[in-house]
C-alpha cells in the first residue's frame, strides 16, 4: 500500500510543480492556449477536439495501454499517446491523419480478432465505445484472424454480469477498483493470451470481496461488464435519462435515472457531477428498486376500529383537517406537532415548517438530524 502511495505522489509532484503555467500550442493548425500540467488529451477534450480512447477515464491515472489516442507531434519520430503526453509550450499537434487512421484501424482490427460478433444481442450495443470506434473507422470483424476466447458468461452475483469474451483488456475496471475504490476486488490475472480481469481465484463477487459499487461497470468501454438487473430492459438510446441527486446519504451524488415506460430500469453515472464525478456506491447505483415496489401505498388510508380502509383524498384530507382543528381548539396549538423528513426536499421541508408554525400555531416541528 505504502509503496503504491509514494510512487504516485512522486509523479503527481512533478506535474503539480509546473501546473497552471500558461502555454501556447497548436492543434490541427489551430493555436490554442492552455495550462501546463495537462495532457494533450485533456486539452483536446476541453477544446472539443475528438480523439478516440479506450483505456482512458478521467477518474483514473494515465495509463497508455490501448494506443488509440495516438497523435503526431512535430519533431517526434513516432506518434505518441495523447493521454500520457503532457503539453509543452510550442507543441504542434495533429490528431487525425492518414497515418494515424491506419494505426487506429490496425489496433481495432487486432482487438476485434478476439471479440465475439455479438453486437445484435449485446447489452451494450448503442452505448459501446468499441462498437462506436469500429463504426467510425470502418473496421469489420475478421480483418485479422486469430485465436478467440470462448469463455462462459458469468452471472455469479446479483449485480454484475461479466462476459469475458467481450473484454478488451483496457484494465479500466481493475484500475478503478484499485485506484479509486481501493477495494482490491479484481485485478488482471493469468498470463499472455489468458490474461483477463478477474477476482482472486475467479471467486464470485460477494460481500466478502466486493463493495458492489459498480464502478467497474461504469467504466467498462464494452459489454464485458454490465448491470445485471438492467439486462434486457432496453437499449441506452431508448431510455429517457433524467439527471437527479441521490436520496440516500448526505454526499449528494448526481446520476441519471434511466427510464423506460415509466419505470426506472437503470442508474448511469454523471461524469460531470461536481461532487462525485461519475462515482457512486451500491446504494446510489443499485438501490432504486424501492421506487416500483408493490408495497408502495397507492391510496390514502383511514383507520376505523383498528383496521385501515382505503379512502379518497377528499375524505382523508377533510378528516385530517377536522381532527387537527378540533384538537387545536380543545388543547391549544402547543399540544400538536409535526416531524419533517430529511428524505424530503428543501421545498417540502420549508413548507412543513411554515405550515406547522402558521396553520397549527406552535413551533413543535423537528427533523431527524438528531437521529
Amino acid at each position: 500500500m505504502d509503496r503504491n502511495r509514494e510512487n504516485k505522489s512522486h509523479i503527481k509532484e512533478k506535474r503539480i510543480h509546473t501546473m497552471g503555467k500558461p502555454v501556447k500550442i497548436t492543434i490541427n493548425d489551430r493555436e490554442v492556449s492552455c495550462e501546463k500540467g495537462n495532457t494533450v488529451l485533456e486539452v483536446c477534450r476541453k477544446k472539443g477536439i475528438y480523439i478516440p480512447t479506450l483505456c482512458y477515464d478521467e477518474r483514473l491515472e494515465s495509463y497508455g495501454g490501448c494506443r488509440l489516442c495516438l497523435v503526431e507531434i512535430k519533431g517526434m519520430a513516432k506518434p505518441l499517446s495523447s493521454c500520457t503526453t503532457p503539453v509543452e509550450d510550442g507543441m504542434e499537434i495533429t490528431t487525425e491523419s492518414e497515418k494515424l487512421t491506419g494505426l487506429r484501424r490496425t489496433m481495432l482490427s487486432l482487438i476485434l480478432s478476439n471479440h465475439p460478433d455479438d453486437c445484435m444481442c449485446c447489452e451494450k450495443a448503442g452505448d459501446c465505445d468499441l462498437q462506436e470506434m469500429a463504426y467510425r473507422y470502418n473496421v469489420k470483424p475478421g480483418e485479422f484472424t486469430g485465436e478467440k476466447w470462448d469463455l462462459p458468461v458469468r452471472e455469479d452475483n446479483p449485480f454484475i454480469t461479466y462476459e469475458p469474451n467481450k473484454c478488451i483488456l483496457c484494465s479500466r475496471c481493475t484500475r478503478i477498483c484499485n485506484e479509486v475504490v481501493m477495494a482490491g476486488t479484481i485485478d488482471l490475472t493469468g498470463r499472455g493470451f489468458h490474461t483477463m480481469p478477474d477476482t482472486a481465484y475467479g471467486a464470485p463477487r460477494s460481500l466478502k470481496n466486493c463493495e458492489f459499487c459498480g464502478q467497474c461497470v461504469s467504466t467498462c468501454p464494452t459489454g464485458a461488464l454490465t448491470d445485471r438487473k438492467s439486462r434486457g430492459k432496453g437499449r441506452s438510446f431508448g431510455m429517457k435519462k433524467v439527471k437527479t441527486t441521490c436520496s440516500y446519504c448526505g454526499t449528494g451524488c448526481n446520476f441519471y435515472l434511466n427510464v423506460k415506460d415509466n419505470e426506472v430500469v437503470k442508474v448511469t453515472s454523471d461524469y460531470d457531477a461536481p461532487v462525485n464525478k461519475g462515482n457512486l456506491c451500491i446504494k446510489g447505483r443499485y438501490g432504486y428498486d424501492f421506487i416500483h415496489s408493490p408495497e408502495r401505498i397507492r391510496t390514502p388510508l383511514i383507520k376505523k376500529d383498528g383496521v385501515f380502509h382505503e379512502a379518497t383524498w377528499d375524505e382523508a384530507l377533510e378528516f385530517t383537517a377536522k381532527k387537527f382543528k378540533e384538537l387545536i381548539e380543545e388543547h391549544g396549538p402547543e399540544k400538536v406537532g409535526g416531524f419533517s423528513s430529511s428524505r424530503c426536499t428543501n421545498e417540502e421541508n420549508y413548507l412543513l415548517s411554515k405550515w406547522v408554525r402558521c396553520a397549527i400555531g406552535s413551533n413543535n416541528v423537528d427533523n431527524c438530524a438528531r437521529v
Binding site: 429517457k240 383537517a321 406537532g337
Partner: protein, 536 residues
C-alpha cells in the same frame, strides 16, 4: 449540529468534498466513512494516494483503518478524553498556532488549563488508546496547517455529543485548521437532506435559516413574511415530542416521511407513545412500522417522482428531478401539505416548487441567489447571497460570523450507562454499507436484500471463544430495556468487550435495547453506548 453552530456560527461542513483531495492530514473520528459515505471515502483515498496522512479514531476497526497512519481504537464514549489528550500534546509540543489564537480566538488561557490534566498517561487509561498513538496523532494533526476533521453520528450520538463537537472545534481552533481551502471541520450528514431540512427551519427553536424563534425581531420579520401571528415560544424537539406523547401532553402529530419506531432509541417506548396520541397522521411511501400506528396514512412520492432540491453535506443545493409518475393516487408531499393547510384555514399558493425555494431565499439571505435555472447544470453551495454570487466553496474565508472563535472547556464524563457484571458488554450501533437507515428503501431492493438481508451482531473472536459462541450462531443480546435474538458474526472489527449491531433490521431492531438518555444540549439519543449481556 447545534454546537458547531454555536462555536463557528454555522453547523455545516466548512469545506467542499472536492477539497478533500488537497488535504495533508485527514482526521476521521466516529465516522465509518467507507461504508456510510463511500464516495467521500473515494476522495479521501485520492488524497491518501497523493501522500495525505490519515488518522482514524473509532471503537471498531472500520475499513478506513487500512489507509490510516494512526488508528486509535478508543472505548466507546471516551472521545472527549481522547480529543483533550491530543490537544494536551499539541500544546506541550508547541504545535499550536499562536498567531491564529491571538488574532481570532478568545478564552484560550482558561481552556488551556482545562486540558492540563489530560496527560497521555491518563488518557490511555480512560480510552484504552496507547500513549504513543495519542502523541503520534497529535504530531500529525498539530504539525499540519492543512488538515481536516471528519465526523458523523458516531461523535454526536452520545449523551455528551455536543461536548464532543466542542472538543473537535477546540482542536481545529488550537491549530488554526479552519477557514481555509482544504482545511476545516466537516460533519458528514447521514441522510441525503438533513442539511436542507435543518436549513429550512425544521427545528423547534429556529425559523428557516437558523433564525431564532425567541428573538422578537426575527419573529416580527417572519410574521411579516408569512402574514400571521407566530408563537414566541420555542417548540419541542422530536426527542421531546415522543415522551410528551407518552405523558399525554402532546395530542396530535403529523409525520412526513419519517419512521421513528425504527430510528428512535427505545422502540417499545416510542410505539407506546405514538399509540397514546389522539391523532396521528403519517405521510409516507410505504406502510412503515410508524405508519401502521397512524389514524390516517397519506401516500406520497419518492425522489424519482418529484421536482425540488436537496442540500448536501457540503451545503450544495442540487436539483432533484421527476423521472416517473407516482404509483396509484400518490401525491407529492408539497401538494399534500398545501391541501391540508388550505383546509386548516391557512391557504398557501404556489404554482411550482421553485416558487417555494425563491420564497425561502427571501427570508434567508444565504439562499437569496439560488434559482432553478442557476443550478440547472451544477448545484451552488450556500451562502449565495445574490444572483451574481458564485456560492461559497469553504466557510469563514473572511473571518467568523461571531467575530472571535471561543475555546470552550469540555470535560470527560463517563457514558450514562456503564458496564456492570450483569451487563458486561458495550453495544454500539450504526450503519453498514449495503443497507440504509431504517431500511424502508434498501430492504426493498432484492439484490441487496439477498446479499445483506440478515441482521447480525459483531463479536470479537476472543469473546466468542470465551462464551462458546461460534460464527452464525443465534444468540441473545439483552439490555436493561429489552432483548433481541440475533445471529453472531465473529470478527476482528470490534474489540473485545464491545459488540456492534447495524440499525437497519426491523426484525432485530437494535433500538429495542439501546438507551434513550439524551444529550444535555442538542437532544440526540445515545445510540452509541449501551451496556448489554450476550448469551447463547
Amino acid at each position: 449540529m447545534a454546537s458547531l453552530a454555536a462555536i463557528f456560527g454555522s453547523g455545516a461542513m466548512t469545506n467542499s468534498i472536492r477539497e478533500i483531495e488537497g488535504m495533508e492530514v485527514i482526521f476521521i473520528i466516529g465516522s465509518n466513512t467507507k461504508e456510510t459515505h463511500p464516495v467521500i471515502a473515494n476522495r479521501m483515498i485520492k488524497a491518501y494516494r497523493k501522500g495525505a496522512k490519515i488518522i482514524v479514531a473509532d471503537p471498531r476497526r472500520v475499513p478506513m483503518v487500512r489507509f490510516a497512519d494512526v488508528f486509535m481504537s478508543l472505548k466507546p464514549g471516551t472521545d472527549i478524553a481522547l480529543l483533550n489528550g491530543i490537544a494536551h500534546v499539541i500544546l506541550k509540543e508547541g504545535l499550536h498556532n499562536e498567531e491564529f489564537i491571538g488574532e481570532k480566538t478568545e478564552g484560550f488561557e482558561e481552556w488551556k488549563k482545562s486540558v492540563e490534566e489530560y496527560t497521555p498517561e491518563k488518557v490511555e487509561r480512560i480510552t484504552g488508546v496507547a500513549k504513543k498513538d495519542i502523541v503520534k496523532a497529535a504530531r500529525l494533526y498539530g504539525g499540519s496547517r492543512k488538515a481536516g476533521i471528519f465526523y458523523t453520528m458516531g461523535i454526536t450520538q452520545h449523551t455528551c455529543g455536543s461536548d464532543n463537537v466542542r472538543a473537535i472545534a477546540n482542536l481545529a481552533t488550537l491549530t488554526g485548521n479552519i477557514g481555509r481551502e482544504s482545511t476545516g471541520v466537516n460533519p458528514l450528514r447521514g441522510q441525503n437532506n438533513v442539511q436542507g431540512a435543518s436549513d429550512a427551519g425544521c427545528m423547534p427553536n429556529v425559523y428557516p435559516g437558523y433564525q431564532l424563534v425567541e428573538n422578537p425581531e426575527v419573529q416580527a420579520k417572519f410574521e411579516g413574511a408569512w402574514g400571521v401571528p407566530l408563537s414566541p415560544k420555542a417548540g419541542l424537539k422530536a426527542t421531546e415530542m415522543i415522551p410528551a406523547a407518552h405523558e399525554g401532553t402532546l395530542k396530535a402529530l403529523y409525520i412526513m416521511g419519517e419512521n421513528p419506531v425504527i430510528t428512535d432509541p427505545n422502540t417499545h417506548h416510542t410505539v407506546e407513545a405514538l399509540k397514546k396520541l389522539d391523532f396521528l397522521v403519517v405521510q409516507d411511501i410505504f406502510l412503515t412500522e410508524t405508519a401502521a400506528l397512524a389514524d390516517v396514512v397519506l401516500p406520497s412520492t419518492c425522489f424519482a417522482e418529484k421536482d425540488g432540491t436537496f442540500a448536501n453535506t457540503e451545503r450544495k443545493v442540487q436539483r432533484v428531478r421527476k423521472a416517473v409518475e407516482p404509483p396509484g393516487e400518490a401525491r407529492s408531499d408539497l401538494s399534500i401539505i398545501l391541501e391540508v393547510a388550505q383546509r386548516l384555514g391557512y391557504p398557501m399558493k404556489y404554482t411550482s416548487p421553485e416558487e417555494v425555494l425563491l420564497e425561502f431565499g427571501q427570508v434567508w439571505q444565504n439562499l437569496a441567489g439560488i434559482t432553478y435555472q442557476r443550478i440547472e447544470k451544477e448545484g451552488i453551495q450556500w451562502p449565495c447571497t445574490d444572483r451574481e454570487h458564485p456560492g461559497t466553496q469553504y466557510l469563514f474565508k473572511g473571518g467568523f460570523p461571531k467575530g472571535k472563535v471561543p475555546f470552550s472547556p469540555v470535560s470527560y464524563t463517563p457514558p450514562a450507562e456503564v458496564v456492570s457484571d450483569e451487563y458486561p458488554f458495550i453495544l454500539t450501533t450504526g450503519r453498514n454499507l449495503y443497507q440504509y437507515h431504517s431500511g424502508s428503501m434498501t430492504r426493498r431492493v432484492d439484490a441487496i436484500e439477498s446479499h445483506a438481508g440478515e441482521p447480525y451482531v459483531e463479536l470479537n473472536p476472543s469473546d466468542g471463544e470465551r462464551l462458546g459462541i461460534g460464527d452464525g450462531e443465534e444468540i441473545r443480546v439483552a439490555s436493561r430495556r429489552g432483548d433481541i435474538k440475533i445471529k453472531a458474526r465473529i470478527t476482528q472489527r470490534v474489540s473485545s468487550g464491545t459488540v456492534f449491531i447495524p440499525m437497519h433490521y426491523r426484525e432485530a431492531a437494535a433500538n429495542v435495547i439501546t438507551n434513550d438518555a439524551l444529550d444535555k444540549k442538542v437532544k440526540i439519543p445515545e445510540y452509541k453506548v449501551c451496556a448489554v449481556q450476550v448469551s447463547k
